[in-house]
């Protein structure tokens, strides 16, 4: 399993919200090693009771996000060499979410907020209608395209101080998704959705600190999306639609 003389000191958060502590492990340092590789090595070789979550290992499923040396990251695409401080790595669960055990968080509230933000497509056509052509160069489609590659990893949610200050705040990911739908010409739920994302815990809670932009592993810009929702809301107020 590699050269023992060249090892990483890894501090791993253990327990749940009733009580947490750090366990320390020495993990062999390997070339091109990711943080997820390190966690997996610990579970398979040092402590099988370590709980964490992962699936695809290639940055598509969004299930392996953790706090690494204080910053939320997707661990499967985070190389140890890029984040190591000295020879130490500190791995904790994501912030702003309840901890199920060790490094696994309960993401129910994160996904419930996607539902609260009405982040689902509302069709306006039937199967008998012709397929609507969406022109890629239109302003709406460009806005939607810029925000659409979210993998639901929760990194933005964990980096957001507004979520920490107000647990009812929908958060960057749900609002980002709502913005993509507000720019979808085929969608029929825009008015209802705008009310959902401007109510209690809506887009006006965002302080534009842009921690979500700083940390999004897919380099999305949720603050831009939230600013777009704020503009829509302002316009709707002046038109007395909200």
């Amino acid at each position: 399993m590699g050269d023992r003389s060249n090892s990483i000191r890894v501090k791993v958060s253990r327990g749940d919200d009733r009580g947490r502590h750090f366990d320390e492990f020495d993990v062999p340092a390997l070339e091109s090693q990711t943080v997820l590789d390190v966690v997996t090595w610990i579970q398979r070789n040092a402590d099988p009771s370590l709980s964490y979550r992962f699936a695809c290992r290639v940055g598509m499923c969004g299930s392996c996000a953790m706090t690494v040396n204080g910053k939320p990251r997707w661990t499967c695409r985070t190389h140890v060499s890029k984040v190591l401080q000295g020879d130490t790595l500190t791995i904790e669960p994501l912030r702003n979410l309840p901890v199920v055990k060790d490094l696994a968080t309960d993401m129910s509230e994160f996904f419930d907020k996607w539902t609260s933000a009405e982040s689902r497509f509302v069709p306006t056509k039937t199967r008998e209608d012709a397929i609507e052509i969406v022109q890629p160069a239109t302003k709406e489609r460009i806005e939607a395209d810029a925000a659409i590659e979210c993998i639901n990893c929760g990194v933005c949610y964990a980096s957001c101080d507004a979520v920490e200050l107000n647990p009812d705040y929908l958060g960057p990911a749900a609002l980002n998704r709502a913005w993509t739908l507000q720019n979808d010409v085929r969608d029929g739920g825009k008015n209802s959705r705008l009310r959902a994302v401007t109510g209690e815990g809506g887009c006006q809670n965002c302080h534009s600190q842009q921690g979500c932009v700083q940390h999004c592993p897919n380099t999305l810009n949720p603050t831009r999306s939230i600013a777009g929702l704020k503009r829509l809301a302002t316009r709707a107020v002046f038109k007395r639609e909200l």
């Binding site: 706090t67 910053k71 842009q210 921690g211 700083q214």
Partner: protein, 114 residues
């Protein structure tokens, strides 16, 4: 002083500066209104106070006050532009420009007062 790692980026510091400057200015408003009130009712006391403002330490404090006012104004304009106009990617540059303009304005005020 260093922020927690996930907060350690320029736009989080811009947020903190905006929040602290806003709260400081809000705290200063009662004193400001009190001094304005002296101009209307007790001019002798106002003159005494104006003599006191010639002390270098007070001038330095005035520099700080003008900086807070300017940084809150420019930072506020940046945030309003962010929310009201089409998005621009150079947000860190805008925040740096707001802080620089505020420092320049406060420095000019300080130079003028000597």
């Amino acid at each position: 002083m260093r922020a927690k790692p996930h907060r350690n980026h320029p736009l989080w510091y811009a947020y903190v500066v905006h929040r602290i400057s806003g709260l400081s200015l809000a705290a200063f408003i009662p004193l400001h209104l009190y001094v304005l009130g002296l101009a209307l009712e007790r001019r002798g006391e106002l003159d005494q106070l104006l003599v006191w403002t010639e002390i270098p330490v007070v001038k330095a404090a005035e520099f700080g006050l003008v900086f807070l006012l300017a940084v809150h104004l420019f930072g506020g304009l940046r945030l309003m532009a962010l929310e009201m106009f089409q998005w621009r990617d150079n947000q860190k540059t805008f925040a740096a420009a707001a802080a620089s303009a505020a420092f320049l304005l406060a420095s000019l005020f300080l130079l003028r007062s000597f």
